[in-house]
Structure formats: C-alpha cells, structure tokens
Symmetry: C2
Subunit: 278 residues, 2 copies
C-alpha cells in the first residue's frame, strides 16, 4: 500500500494530516484526513474515532469546522475522516447533490455502473482501518461517529460490526433511509429495487433486531430543516424500544443541520467515546 | 440604516447571524457576521470583539473555523466579523489574491479608481461599530483582533484609536507592511507612491511612536511560510522596545499560517480580551 502525504498542520500540539492512497476496494484514488493527538507514539498507541461526513462533504469539513481537535488532543484520541464517496473522472456520477460523488451512503453498490467503485461500506469497515492501523501510531480501539448521511453510516456500520467498534454516535443521522427520499433514491440506484436488500443499511431496521449493543448516542436539532422529511429520529427511538437498545437520543431546541450544531456538542461526543476507548 | 438578516444558526446556546447592509462609507452592499452569546439581552449588553480576517477571506472563515464561539459563549462576549473589502461588480478589482476584492488592507484608499469604495479603515473604525451598537444588545466595550492582513488591521486600528479599544491581539500579523511585498503592492495601489502616507498604516511604525498603550498580544507560528518575507514580527518586537510598549509576542514551534493555528490558540486570545472587556 502506497500512501502519499498531501498536507500537514500542527493543531493543539498534535498534527492534522491529509493523505491520498489507491483504494483497492473503491478502485480509485482516495483522500482522507487524520488528526494525531500529541500523546501518540509507537510506544503509546492511541485509540481512533472514525468520522463519516454528510452529503457533499469531503475529508475537510469536519476537520475544519467541528472544533474536535481541542478535546481529542486533551484526551489522546486520534480522529480519521474519510471522503464521502469514491472520486475521479472515471467514477460514475450524478448531477444531484444527493447521489454519486459526495454521496456514497456507506453501502456496497450492487448495480451497474455504480458497483465498480461505490463500495464505501467495505472501505470504511475493512480497508481504511487496516491502512490506518498499519501506518499510524494508533491502537485497534475504534469508535465511529458521523453527521446526516454519515450518521446513518456510523450507526449501520457499528451495529453490523459490534465487535469492531466500542461506541457509536451520530449528529442528525438519516435514521430510516428506506422511508425517506434521500435514502430511497440512493438505495434504488446503488442496491436496486428489491427492498429486502436495503434493510441491512437501515439503522432503525438494524436497531429493532439488535441483540448486541454498541453504546450509542444521537443528537438532533429541532430546527433542522431536514428533520421531518429525511431524518426521522422518532423511528430510531421506537426501534430502540423494541430491542431494549440503550440508545441515548437528545433533541436540542433551536439547533439546525449545520456544523454550528455539531461544534456546539462535539465535546459531549468526544467524551462519550473516550469513556469507551480509554 | 437598513439591515437584512441572511442566515441564523444556534451555536453554543447563542446565535451566529449573517447580515447585509448598504455601507455609506464603502458605497456598496456589505455582509458581516455576528456571534451573540446566550447572556446578551437589552437588559444585559455584552462587550464585542471585532475580528478582521486575512487575504481572500470573507465574514465566514473565522466563524466557521476558529472555534471561538465555545469560550465566547462561556464568557459572554459577542464577536463581529466584517468582510475583508468592499464587494460587487461595480467595485474595482484585481486578478491577484493580494489586491482588490478580498484584500482591502483596512486602509482608506486615496488613489483612483480605488478610493470610490476602498475605505475599510473608516468602515471598521466608525460605520460598523455604530451599526452594531445601534442594532444588537452590545455595549460600547470593544476589543479587536485579526489574522495576517487582519492582524495588521487590528494592530493599526487599535493603536490609532486607543480610546476606542480596550485590547488588541493578532495571529500572524503583517507587522511591517511598508517593508514587505504584500504591503508595498497594496499601499502603492491604494495610497500612492509617497511613502510618508503609508506610515499611519504600519503597525511597527505606530508602535515605535506609541505613547498610549492598548494591551497587545501577538501569536506567530514558526513554520509559517509567510513569516520571513511578509510578516516580520521581529520588527514589531523591536518597535515595542523603542516605545516601551507592553507587547506580548509569543512564537510557536511547528505552527503554520492556517486556521489550525488560530483554533489552537483562540481560547488564549478570548481570555486575554475578556480580562479587559468584562
């Protein structure tokens, strides 16, 4: 595996770095960012919080806007932010902001032409952690979080791989993609019309049937313009009651879908994951 | 004065808002952002920290990337971020990133065609604070800070108006614009070739002659790629010695010119200003 450093910035005594690498899973060149806290060394490997971003984002949005590095540096946690889809001129795309590049939805596509590159589930679950743990001074203690489409990704990936993640959290996740237009459009395109193939990627469906519990925290702004049509946290909450899943869901008056909301509560999420990682 | 709200986001219990208004000083429509902390009300007016951004920036860079709202909310300080120049199709411009729109340098231009709009000094010193104090629940306690070109703006504006600002700080300021290529290009264009007209806008020249001291704090990264050619904090430090100015200048190993540096030390700057504002 070759990996190329693209940028480096000192941040809160640690380092923010961007890298590109050829992804075998996605069959294209991918970029990711990592925040390495000051405590990290080969003698002192640190745990990792994976962050999955939302529609239209890259590895940069969270690292630039969430303000997570301050507490990650204090608590000694690395953060890894992948891109939100495969990228490149040869990669299938769509004119909509909610499909194609920037909108991989963290699934393994089964439909042409998407299946050639859109394997974000395997990339996040397998290839990326292997690369991170082989390259950086990090341990195999992992948690995962994300926003909107990335919150959907974090919840579904954690629940499908409870042995791999110590905790999961989400801001404003797409809780029930099989029942909202964003999810239905993406799943029809990437997975085909047979809805039985969609269920494995729906957080509410997975939570209803969960028998192993990854500690889960979800925060949602009540003035989020996507709340009613796309996000549906009430469906996730009902699913948690079915399986007795210990989901902690907090609603916040006045907050919207932006990074101003994420920044306001990111410290709570970092501390939540730190309880399980350290 | 008419003022139009463009956006609103709840942030750390307070509010981030963007506005546009017609500026008489700049003779064009301007946008600014304000962070209003949760404590602010007409019965409890809060002090204001003005933030001046660097080359190419708008009102958005600081608000999205610096992570200042967390401590501003805790300490009850409003933050106002103006744009970095007049804007619009009718406003003179230049192809360079370091001249024209996005590069107003916080001076009052005297040369055609620039003088019609490029009066950023008067906008920041007079029109903007008047508008802010007439519109929002803020007091007349003001401090000022900025980055790079905005650090130059903050230092020069505070030293020229010591009665108006309780403290001044800067990240990576252009400390001696009359002796660097960014400053010489801008000052020649906006102010003409007579260098005697430049001195009033040079932080080191002003600091050398200062007799009234606005408490001043400057932070500079030692791996900043602009440090030697453009920023020259050593000239400012020497100027402070001439006038016995109580300048606090800190150099930081490994940090660069980016917002990752600003975010790492913004809490120190907010606390510094809070000592003088509250």
């Amino acid at each position: 595996m070759t990996i190329e450093n693209l940028s480096i910035n000192k941040s809160f005594g640690g380092w923010h770095k961007q890298y590109s690498h050829h992804s075998k899973t996605l069959n294209c060149t991918m970029r990711f960012a990592i925040y390495i806290p000051p405590q990290a060394s080969n003698e002192h490997k640190v745990p990792v919080l994976y962050w999955l971003s939302g529609l239209t984002c890259t590895d940069e949005n969270f690292m630039q806007k969430a303000g997570a590095q301050r507490l990650a540096a204090e608590l000694g946690i690395a953060i890894v932010a992948p891109d939100t889809s495969p990228r490149g001129e040869d990669v299938a795309n769509d004119e909509g902001y909610d499909l194609g590049q920037g909108a991989g939805f963290y699934v393994n596509a089964t439909q042409a032409p998407w299946k050639q590159h859109y394997q974000m589930y395997d990339y996040v679950v397998k290839e990326l952690p292997s690369l991170i743990e082989a390259t950086f001074p990090v341990s195999d203690k992992r948690s995962i979080s994300g926003h909107s489409m990335g919150g959907h990704g974090a919840l579904t990936i954690a629940m499908q791989n409870p042995e791999q993640y110590r905790s999961v959290s989400a801001f404003s996740p797409i809780c029930n993609p099989i029942n909202c237009s964003w999810g239905q459009k993406a799943f029809t395109t990437y997975l085909g019309k047979d809805k039985s193939n969609w269920l494995q990627y729906d957080a509410s469906e997975l939570m209803k049937k969960a028998t192993v519990y990854v500690p889960a925290k979800v925060d949602q702004g009540q003035d989020d313009s996507f709340l009613v049509e796309q996000l549906k946290p009430e469906i996730l909450n009902a699913a948690a009651k079915v399986s007795n899943y210990p989901l902690v869901l907090n609603l916040h008056e006045g907050y919207d879908h932006s990074y101003y909301f994420i920044a306001s509560f990111i410290d709570e999420h970092i501390r939540f994951h730190a309880q399980h990682l350290t």
